[in-house]
C-alpha cells in the first residue's frame, strides 16, 4: 500500500513535470566521479567557457565506443579550432579495468579528457542504458542532444550539431 501511494505520487509528479519540461533542456546532475589518477571530480565541473561540450560514455570492452572516440580524436584538432568544443570521455569500466584505462588512453594518444566513475552513479543519474551513449551540451551546460550507438561516420552528424550549438542555433527539433 505504501508502495502504491509512493508510486502514484511519483507518477503524478512525473506527469506534471514532463508537461512543464517539454520545452526545457536539462542540466547535468551533480555526481562525484574520478579523474584518471584517482582524484575526485564533480560532474558539475564539466564546463567549457560558454562553448559546447560532448560527453561520451564508453568502456574498454566496448568496440563501437572505442571506434567513436578514435573518430573524435582524428578530428579533434579541427573541431576545437572551429568551434571550441570540448570532449569528455567517461569510462564506465568497473574495478576489473579502471586501473587499465589510463595506460590505454595514453597508448591511444587521445587528446581529450577521460574520466572514470566508480560503480555507475553518473551513468544511472544520466539514465544511460547501453553504450556508446553521447550527450551534447550547449554553452550554458544544458543537455541539448543525446544519442546511443555508433556507426562509422556518426561523428559527422554529431559535428553538424556541434557547429549549430556553437553558433547559438537551436537544435530542439532533434
Amino acid at each position: 500500500m505504501k508502495n502504491l501511494i509512493l508510486v502514484s505520487l511519483l507518477s503524478l509528479l512525473s506527469l506534471m513535470a514532463i508537461s512543464q519540461n517539454a520545452e526545457k533542456n536539462t542540466n547535468l546532475p551533480s555526481v562525484n566521479i574520478k579523474t584518471l589518477d584517482g582524484q575526485t571530480f564533480n560532474t558539475q565541473d564539466i564546463t567549457n567557457d560558454g562553448k559546447p561540450v560532448i560527453i561520451s560514455f564508453w568502456a574498454l570492452w566496448c568496440k563501437p565506443c572505442k571506434k567513436e572516440l578514435d573518430a573524435f580524436n582524428e578530428n579533434y584538432e579541427d573541431w576545437v579550432d572551429e568551434t571550441g568544443v570540448k570532449v569528455y570521455a567517461v569510462s564506465i569500466d568497473d574495478s576489473r579495468s579502471t586501473a587499465k584505462v589510463l595506460p590505454f588512453v595514453s597508448g591511444k594518444d587521445w587528446e581529450f579528457d577521460v574520466l572514470l566513475y566508480p560503480n555507475g552513479d553518473f551513468k544511472r543519474a544520466m539514465n544511460v542504458n547501453m553504450i556508446p551513449h553521447t550527450f551534447l551540451l550547449d554553452g550554458d551546460g544544458k543537455i541539448v542532444y543525446q544519442h546511443t550507438s555508433y556507426y562509422e561516420g556518426g561523428e559527422y552528424e554529431l559535428y553538424e550539431l556541434v557547429k549549430k550549438v556553437a553558433n547559438g542555433e537551436s537544435i530542439s527539433d532533434k
Binding site: 511519483l10 570492452w61 576489473r96 590505454f104 560503480n119 555507475g120 539514465n127 544511460v128 546511443t148 562509422e152
Partner: protein, 560 residues
C-alpha cells in the same frame, strides 16, 4: 461587517491560491523527470539440430525481460523507482527472476557536503573487495542494498560513507532471519585536495579504508557459525608524474559457507597495479591474490546473488564472438595471478605507422590456483568444519586456471579502409571454471580480422573473419560477420558461426543469424533472427550461461 469579512476572505484566498500556485509552478519549473526503458523479447522455435524440440519448449515459447526507471529531481531532492518484468525470463537468466513489480524505490537528499539515501541504492568501497552493490541488466544481476546510506564530506578531500541494509534476492522480500544484514563504513582522503600545498604537486596520493560486517543468525544444527562476520580493507592510490600505483588489501574473519565448504579459515584478497603512461605509450602490470574470499549476505546461497564483495577478474575482457567463447571468472576460493599490458601508438608518417599511425596492444594474463597445505596430519585439505588449509601468500599453485596472450593491431590504411587484427593463444581450465571435473584444459589459437570499408561518410561495410583452433572441447570454429551501416540510424548484419571441427559429425552445426536495427537519438530497435550458440556471457565478475536457442529476438530501449 459581514460583507467586509467576505471580501477580506476572498482577497486572502486569491492571494493564497496565487502564492501556492506560484510555488507549485516554481517547483515544477525546477523539477526534472528522467527515465529509461528497455524491453528484450524472444520468441523460441524448435530446432532439431540443436536438440530443441517442441516438448522441451513445453509451451514456453516466449521470454520477456523489461524494465522502466523514472527519476524525479527537485533541487537537492531526488527520488526514483524501477519496475522490472521477467515474464518468463529469457533463456539463460535465472528462473528465480520470473515475476514483475517494483524491486527498487529510493529517495535521497544531497546537500553540498552531506547526503542521505533511503530505499534501494548502489555503493562501492574502493575496488569493491569488501563491498560492491551493482546492477547489470544484461546478466539479470542486482544485489542492491535496501536500507540507508549516508555520506559526509566535512572538508573537501575527506569523504565518509556509511551503509546499512539488506540485499536484493530476486523477488524475495526481506523477512526476519532469512538472510544477513549488511553494514559498512568507508573513509577516503584525497591529499591533493585536502592540503592546498599539494594541489599542483606531481605527487598524488589518495588513501582509503573500509569496514563491512554482516549479521546472519546461526541456525546450523551441527556447527557453531559466526553470526557477525567482519571484513576490513585498506587502499592507496599513489601517482608520481607518469607513474601510477593502485593497491588494496582486504581481510575477512572466518566465514564458513556453502561456497567454501564450511571451513573456518579467514579470507584475504589483494590487488596491486602499476602503470606508466606517456604520450603514445601505456604500460600496465597487475598482481592479484584471492584466498577464501567469497563474502555473501547468506552463507548458504550458491546462486549468482547476494554477493557483498566484488572480486574483479584480472584477465582482458574480450568482445569478438570467438575470443569470448571461453571467458574467465574469478575463483573466490582461491587464485593467484598477474597481467601485463602494452598499448603503443606507432606515430603518423613513420615507416611502420604509415600516413595515419598504427595502434598496437599486447596483453598477457595468467591465473593459477593457490597452494594449499594441510593444517595438520589428520585433517584433509578443505575438510568441512575445520580450519581448511594454510597457504603461502606468494606461491603459485601448479594448476593453471587461465592463460591468455593476445596481440592486437589497429590500422587505418586509407580514407576508406581500416582494420583491427588480433591473434590470441589461450588456456582455459574448463574443469574448474565451468565445473566439469576431469575435462582437459582447452588450449586454443584464435585469430580475428575486422575490416571496415567506407563507401561514403555515412555508409560502411564491416567484415569480420574469425577462427578458433583447438583439439579440446568442441574443436575448431570459424565465424564470419557482414555488417552494413548507414549512419546514424541503420544497421543490417548477417553472421554465421560454424563448428566445423566438432568430433561429433551431427554437431558440426552452422549458427546463422541475421539482424537489423534502427536508432533515433536514444531510441533503439533491434531485431535478430536465427540461431544462438550456447555460451557464457560475462560482465565484470559475473557470468551467465546462455543455452543454445533458435528464434526471433527483439530489443527496444529508450531514455529521456
Amino acid at each position: 461587517m459581514n460583507k467586509l469579512k467576505i471580501v477580506l476572505l476572498l482577497i486572502l484566498t486569491i492571494i493564497g491560491v496565487n502564492t501556492v500556485n506560484a510555488q507549485i509552478s516554481d517547483m515544477l519549473n525546477r523539477s526534472e523527470v528522467h527515465g529509461s526503458f528497455q524491453v528484450d523479447g524472444q520468441y523460441y522455435q524448435a530446432d532439431n539440430a540443436l536438440g530443441i524440440t517442441d516438448s522441451i519448449l513445453g509451451g514456453r515459447k516466449m521470454g520477456l525481460n523489461g524494465f522502466g526507471k523514472i527519476t524525479y529531481n527537485l533541487g537537492k531532492f531526488s527520488a526514483g523507482m524501477r519496475y522490472e518484468a521477467y515474464l518468463t525470463p529469457i533463456a539463460g537468466f535465472d528462473p528465480a527472476l520470473e515475476g514483475n513489480g517494483f524491486p527498487n524505490l529510493w529517495a535521497s537528499y544531497n546537500d553540498d557536503n552531506f547526503s542521505v539515501t533511503v530505499g534501494s541504492f548502489y555503493e562501492q568501497f574502493g575496488n569493491g573487495l569488501v563491498l560492491r552493490t551493482y546492477e547489470e541488466w544484461a546478466l539479470g544481476y542486482d544485489n542492491a542494498l535496501n536500507g540507508v546510506r549516508v555520506t559526509y564530506e566535512p572538508v573537501r578531500g575527506l569523504l565518509f560513507k556509511g551503509v546499512y541494509g539488506t540485499q536484493r534476492y530476486f523477488w524475495d522480500k526481506f523477512e526476519k532471519n532469512d538472510r544477513g544484514i549488511v553494514r559498512g563504513v568507508d573513509a577516503e582522503m584525497d591529499f591533493n585536495t585536502l592540503f592546498t600545498g599539494m594541489t599542483n604537486s606531481k605527487f598524488r596520493f589518495v588513501l582509503g579504508g573500509s569496514m563491512v560486517s554482516k549479521y546472519q543468525i546461526d541456525e546450523n544444527p551441527i556447527y557453531k557459525l559466526p553470526e557477525n562476520v567482519a571484513s576490513f580493507a585498506g587502499r592507496a592510490n599513489i601517482g608520481y608524474g607518469k607513474f601510477n600505483i593502485s593497491t588494496e588489501y582486504a581481510y575477512k574473519i572466518n566465514d564458513p559457507s556453502a561456497i567454501n565448504n564450511y571451513i573456518y579459515k579467514e579470507g584475504q584478497a589483494f590487488l596491486a597495479s602499476l602503470s606508466y603512461s606517456t604520450k603514445g605509450l601505456g604500460l600496465f602490470a597487475q598482481f592479484k591474490r584471492i584466498d577464501n574470499f567469497s563474502f555473501r549476505s547468506d552463507r548458504d546461497v550458491t546462486a549468482n546473488a547476494l554477493d557483498i564483495s566484488y572480486l574483479p577478474p584480472i584477465s582482458e575482457s574480450h568482445t569478438y564472438a570467438l575470443t569470448s567463447m571461453y571467458p574467465y571468472a574469478t575463483q573466490p576460493n582461491g587464485e593467484i595471478g598477474f597481467q601485463f599490458q602494452v598499448n603503443y601508438k606507432v606515430p603518423k608518417k613513420s615507416k611502420l605507422g604509415g600516413k595515419y599511425g598504427m595502434g598496437i596492444a599486447i596483453n598477457y594474463s595468467q591465473i593459477n590456483d593457490i597452494v594449499r597445505n594441510k593444517v595438520n596430519d589428520t585433517t584433509a585439505i578443505n575438510q568441512k568444519g575445520t580450519l581448511g588449509y594454510t597457504s603461502d601468500f606468494l606461491k603459485f599453485g601448479d594448476r593453471i586456471f587461465w592463460r591468455d596472450l593476445n596481440i592486437s593491431i589497429n590500422k587505418k590504411f586509407s580514407k576508406k579502409v581500416k582494420g583491427i587484427f588480433q591473434y590470441m593463444y589461450q588456456t582455459y581450465d574448463i574443469a574448474t571454471i565451468e565445473g566439469h571435473p576431469g575435462e582437459p584444459a582447452v588450449n586454443s589459437h584464435i585469430a580475428v580480422a575486422d575490416v571496415n570499408y567506407k563507401f561514403t561518410n555515412r555508409k560502411s561495410l564491416r567484415i569480420e573473419l574469425q577462427g578458433l583452433w583447438t583439439k579440446e572441447d568442441m574443436g575448431d570454429w570459424a565465424a564470419i560477420l557482414l555488417e552494413y551501416t548507414i549512419s546514424p540510424h541503420w544497421f543490417f548484419s548477417v553472421t554465421d558461426q560454424y563448428n566445423y571441427g566438432n568430433a561429433v559429425k551431427a554437431d558440426q552445426i552452422h549458427y546463422f543469424s541475421a539482424a537489423f536495427g534502427y536508432t533515433h537519438n536514444t531510441t533503439r530497435f533491434q531485431f535478430n533472427y536465427g540461431r544462438q550458440r550456447e555460451g557464457i556471457v560475462c560482465i565484470g565478475g559475473v557470468c551467465r550461461q546462455v543455452p543454445a536457442s533458435s528464434g526471433l529476438s527483439v530489443s527496444i530501449s529508450t531514455n529521456f
